[in-house]
Amino acid sequence: MYKWIPLVIAIGLALVLYTAIGKDPTKLETARLNDPVPDFQLSTLQNVDRLITQEDLKGQVILMNVWATWCPSCRAEHGYLVELAKNGVPIVGLNYKDERPAALGWLERLGNPYTVNIFDPEGKLGFDLGVYGAPETYLIDKKGYVRFRHVGVVDAPTWTQVLEPLYKKLSK
């Protein structure tokens, strides 16, 4: 009976290690998952006087994309976001720790995929959401609850395999 002990230990260890394979340790859990978007009151990027709050996000399923002009990966995904927006996917921008003129210039040059842009120069809403690195893209349902977060670039495979199925499910 005792001769089985090493085998049992080896199998146990193999199972434990196996579950960790393929996991990216830099991807964190989403603390805000299934919570409402935190309360905020910020101006829009285009208009200093127009205030926007969490209430304005309700009503339809949206993508909320956290971006900034200092973020190289945001540049990489921007083209794809423009394409998504053309296909009718509503994308709200969260312009994170950025400067207004730089951000506006960027949208002018590269196109504007966003229905509206929340201007968050201090990263306050970003902090409350738990943003730890742009770009991040959140799926927010009709009631304003965070249903998914993708950290990193949104490209065609990410959209068709991960985000789109969830987006369609939530839109039903």
Binding site: L28, E29, A31, G130, G133
Partner: protein
């Protein structure tokens, strides 16, 4: 003259090679009393930077770590205690953010796994020792039997 230029070359090279040394966190925080400063120091060492993992937020230069230090400072100033500040960070960045995870069902193995493994190890050692004892006893017995048989045949001669 040559010595001087060699010295400055070495200095220049070391600046180029080890630039990170000079960029420790340089933001300065003021506190109303020293106990708050002590809390700040413990908290920034207990909270883990979400971006540059394996660094605490006191040690990290990442912008997010700097934001977190700012928030810790602000919350301490508002009179929040340490536990509620850690919970505030967990609400945003998840359980990952603390080096001292809560004791819950999910973290059970993390806290008690090592103790359980030690216990299993002791059990194995004890049972192996017992087994060895039994074996050596059996061997003694069997050698006695062999001697008896040998004696028996010795008498037959």
């Amino acid at each position: 003259m040559i010595n001087k230029s060699i010295f400055s070359l070495v200095a220049l090279l070391s600046c180029l090679l080890f630039p990170q040394i000079s960029f420790a966190s340089i933001d300065v925080y003021e506190f109303e009393d020293e106990s708050l400063r002590a809390d700040f120091v413990t908290l920034t060492k207990e909270l883990r930077c979400p971006k540059c993992q394996n660094q605490d937020i006191a040690d990290s230069n990442a912008p997010i770590a700097s934001d977190m230090r700012k928030e810790v400072h602000r919350l301490l100033g508002e009179g929040k205690d340490k536990e509620s500040i850690v919970n505030y960070m967990i609400d945003r960045f998840g359980e990952f953010v603390t080096y001292k995870p809560k004791k819950s069902l999910e973290t059970f193995m993390l806290w008690y796994g090592p103790l359980i493994l030690i216990f299993i190890g002791v059990l194995i050692i004890v049972s192996l020792l017992k087994m060895n004892k039994k074996k050596s006893y059996k061997q003694e017995g069997s050698s006695e039997e062999v001697r008896k048989i040998l004696d028996k045949y010795a008498n037959d001669k």
